[in-house]
């Protein structure tokens, strides 16, 4: 067999599932139709705290078309869960408004919906507390924050350094709760057969979902199969198992029928996670030349009564700038609210809004250009750990971005430029995101027709994973990509880490390379002969990933924004957004650009549009649909450009790639807010930047 080809990594290969997606043939979770299918429609709690006293399920099962109605009084028992959110219908407690308290199964969607609407539930309501305040008496320090970081860190004597600093910035920033809102609502088709369960689910990780679901139902993982070839976006919200998938499996079990359950857009605001609101105090001490002497960054956030989720908001501050005396801290309060969870760049997205806004305030205070200020505070090694960076090209990104954006000669005076009836201004901020890599398995197979199949239980949630793994495999096998087929999204494939932490390419790519190498070795041993039944090799990267040497591994970037603020209405619009990123080797420039641009678009929307408003009276998110929770349309960002600096970093993985899925959203909101300050002279420290905050 012939194994020679030009490198595919770095080439602009078209998305391999493109035709399936544009023809409507790509099948998403809800679009599966097992025999005897029934429809499940959940019922949500209408109190924010209390107990369920009764549910009139007997009346509902007499309604036309209804097969079953399940509440905690008759629900199948689940094994105890580490995550109390997953103990669905296991007790009478209501821990947040919108929590699932019952589910109706019927022959048709219409009948199920009608019955769910009519199901009478009586509650004993208790007074609730849903308001995040920094001075909440129940604020506490979590043991660790998300991704395993320590809650607090301290070096030197930051309080003394702040007291002695010639220039001081001390400001409090707020970011609202935000909901991921992937276009495809979470959905599950659950099918029991014998003692096994098949889930067609919209998930970012089939392997992880199986590991979570199986023990809940008292089964070994191999009795559960999760299938998820196409996922309509997730942005973190389909990363961990959530109540709806458990509810679907439970309803199917109780009804003795396969069921399908789709979360409605409105329900998504309660049961599918969200980004915690944050209150952040940042204090920067500097000399008059803008060199930082002290950094203190403290974050106050919320979680639910059911589960501790502590967003790692101040962790980017541990990485960004040099300063001898420094402290970061996280405080958490448990409220009668849904559990927050991962949303694109948890930690970095809200944390860098605060830090990079504060850096802009420092630039203004010192009279130094904000690009130059960041360059002056570039550290030689990771500031808190002292570890060397595997590569760090923030300065190169800032310089390249400034050149492309036309930053040179910018007049820093605020509120000094108009264009028509608009005040215009420009702003800059830095981006960063850690490089993670997790163990995965993969197999590579060659058939006698010289076609290759690579199998890995990875997820393509729109990132282009299937496409870039095709390229990675083609190079490892030294063939053209048209001879490689990559299968993902099924627990029948070798187990893989979930799509999260921008770690897909690094984690899955390593496993795919190793499986392909093993296959080539085996082929070599056989003198290139492929037996009639084909040849297969597998790889498991647990050891390789566990043994990687210690480096500070992060991607960096610089974002530049131009905004216009309407002089009459105060409405701010982003006219132009330009980002330059340093994220290792870029495997596919087309899908990578889409990832960067998608992240930046969400960052623009974090700056100007997104806010889940907590209704203190009723205890739920008030604006729970797409008419009231605003995400960008094609009109909202007329000009967005992403560029990158190629890095050759030997300390990452066989691809030399860093993750790119999340960094695009990091820093964007600060760049926009800084531009709004430049345009208007108004410093908006609480997102989103709505017109009422600009009209005086």
């Amino acid at each position: 067999m012939k194994t020679e080809a030009r490198p595919s990594v770095g080439a602009a290969l078209e998305r391999v599932e493109g035709v399936e997606k544009v023809t409507g043939r790509a099948r998403y979770a809800y679009e599966n139709f097992p025999d005897e299918l029934a429809y499940a429609v959940p019922v949500q709690a209408t109190v924010a705290r209390g107990t369920v006293l009764a549910a009139d399920v007997d009346a509902v099962v007499r309604l036309p078309g209804v097969i079953a109605a399940v509440w905690h009084g008759n629900a199948p028992r689940l094994a105890p869960a580490d995550n109390a959110e997953l103990a669905v219908l296991q007790s009478d407690r209501v821990s947040y408004r919108g929590q699932y308290v019952a589910v109706v199964v019927a022959e048709t969607l219409q009948c199920a919906r009608e019955a769910a609407r009519l199901l009478r539930i009586d509650y004993d309501a208790e007074p609730h507390d849903v308001e995040l305040r920094a001075d909440h008496p129940e604020m506490y320090r979590p043991d660790r924050v998300n991704a395993g970081y320590p809650a607090d860190t301290e070096l030197g004597d930051p309080d003394a350094a702040l007291a002695a600093a010639p220039v001081l910035v001390d400001a409090t920033y707020r970011t609202p709760a935000e909901h991921n809102n992937p276009m495809e609502p979470h959905a599950t088709v659950a099918v029991w057969s014998g003692d096994g369960l098949t889930l067609h689910d919209s998930t970012q990780g089939v392997s992880a979902l199986r590991e979570t679901i199986a023990p809940l139902f008292g089964m070994p993982p191999e009795n559960v199969r999760v299938i998820s070839p196409h996922v309509g976006g997730g942005f973190g919200s389909k990363g961990a198992a959530l109540p709806p998938v458990v509810l679907a499996a439970l309803a199917a079990k109780h009804a003795g029928r396969p069921v399908k359950l789709a979360v409605t857009r409105q329900q998504m605001f309660a049961v599918t996670g969200y980004r915690t609101p944050t209150i952040q105090r940042v204090r920067l001490g500097a000399d008059t030349g803008g060199r930082l002497t002290a950094i203190v960054h403290e974050a106050f956030e919320q979680s639910s009564r059911l589960r501790e989720f502590a967003e790692q908001t101040t962790t980017p501050t541990r990485v960004m700038y040099a300063a001898p005396d420094r402290r970061t801290a996280h405080r958490l309060v448990r409220l009668d609210v849904p559990t927050p969870a991962w949303m694109r760049a948890p930690g970095e997205a809200p944390g860098m809004f605060a830090l990079e806004s504060a850096m802009d305030e420092l630039a203004v205070a010192c009279g130094i250009d904000p690009v130059e200020l960041r360059i002056r505070n570039e550290p030689a090694a990771e500031p808190e750990s002292g570890l060397p960076f595997s590569s760090r090209n923030l300065v190169a990104c800032l310089r390249e971005g400034a050149r492309r954006f036309g930053w040179a000669g910018r007049d820093p005076t605020p509120a000094a430029r108009t264009r028509g009836r608009m005040l215009v201004g420009t702003g800059v901020a830095a981006s960063t995101y850690p490089v993670y890599r997790r163990p995965s398995r993969a197999s590579a197979r060659c058939d006698p027709d010289d076609r290759f199949t690579v199998r890995i239980a990875a997820a393509d949630i729109g990132t282009g994973a299937r496409t870039i793994l095709t390229q990675v495999a083609a190079d490892a096998l030294r063939v053209t990509p048209d001879r490689v087929r990559v299968e993902v999204g099924d627990t029948a494939l070798p187990a893989a880490s979930l799509a999260g932490g921008s770690a897909g390419t690094a984690s899955w790519g390593t496993a795919v390379v190793r499986a392909c190498e093993a296959l080539l070795e085996e082929l070599d041993r056989r003198g290139g002969d492929v037996p009639a039944e084909g040849l297969e090799a597998t790889a498991d990267t647990a050891e390789e990933v566990g043994e990687q040497p210690e480096y500070a591994r992060h991607a960096f970037g610089a974002q530049f924004a131009e905004v216009g603020v309407d002089l009459d209405t105060g409405e701010a619009r982003v006219l132009r957004l330009l980002g330059v990123f340093a994220a290792g080797r870029i495997v596919n420039p087309v899908t990578a650009r889409s990832q960067f641009v998608g992240g930046m678009t969400m960052g623009m929307s974090m700056a100007l549009l997104e806010e889940s408003v907590m209704d203190h009276e009723f205890g739920d998110y008030l604006n729970h649909d797409l008419a009231q929770y605003h995400v960008p349309t094609a009109m909202d960002l007329p000009d967005v450009q992403a560029y990158w600096i190629e890095e050759d970093d030997p300390h990452l993985n066989p691809l030399g790639a860093k993750g790119i899925g999340e960094i695009g959203i990091v820093g964007t909101a600060a760049a926009v807010a800084n531009a709004v300050h430049h345009a208007t002279g108004v410093r908006v420290r609480d997102l989103p930047i709505r017109l009422d905050k600009l009209v005086r």
Binding site: E14, R15, G18, V19, K21, V22, T23, G24, R25, Y28, Y30, E31, F33, V43, T46, D56, A59, V60, R62, P64, T108, L109, Q110, E114, A116, L118, L119, R120, D122, P182, M183, E184, P185, H230, V231, G232, G233, A262, R265, I461, G462, T463, G464, T591, R593, S594, V597, G599, M600, T601, M602, D625, L626, A627, P632, T633, A634, M635, L637, P638
Partner: protein, 183 residues
Amino acid sequence: MNGETDITGADGVPDPVTADLRLSVNGVPRPVTVDTRETLLDTLREHLGLTGAKKGCDHGQCGACTVLVDGRRALSCLTLTVTADDVEIVTVEGLADGDALHPLQAAFIENDALQCGYCTPGQLCSAAGALAEAADGWPSAVTPDLSAPPRLDETEIRERMSGNLCRCGAYPGIVAAVGQVAR
């Protein structure tokens, strides 16, 4: 809101009312019996095996369910199926001519106008409808001269496509793809 109506048995709730219809979808007659409460989106997806049209919100807020009804854009989640028995419905599955992709479909792939793909069928049907509207001289909110035939420049395309949300942020590709076909 659950819990508002007091029900004591099935007596108060009538059996579902159904209607026999002869839909025409993608040029094919599709006889179907539907619950009169059913939306065209649910009929397409749950009864006719046409899962190309997507449900993003079920409330007319996202555009994922966009299909063409007699050549015009329609939100199938806001269309009761019983109102659609004497019209010609085209879904994303009906855009291509056999294996030959519709020019919009090819342009979407070429411009990477999709990521997760969930908004894509709605974007495509909406784009096809928008091109037809412009060809018929319909102005949009940003058309500068209402007396002249509209010219589909970038701003016109952005405006005319603004009813279709894409959370992945594939808008630059979408706008480029529609522009490529409009020219």
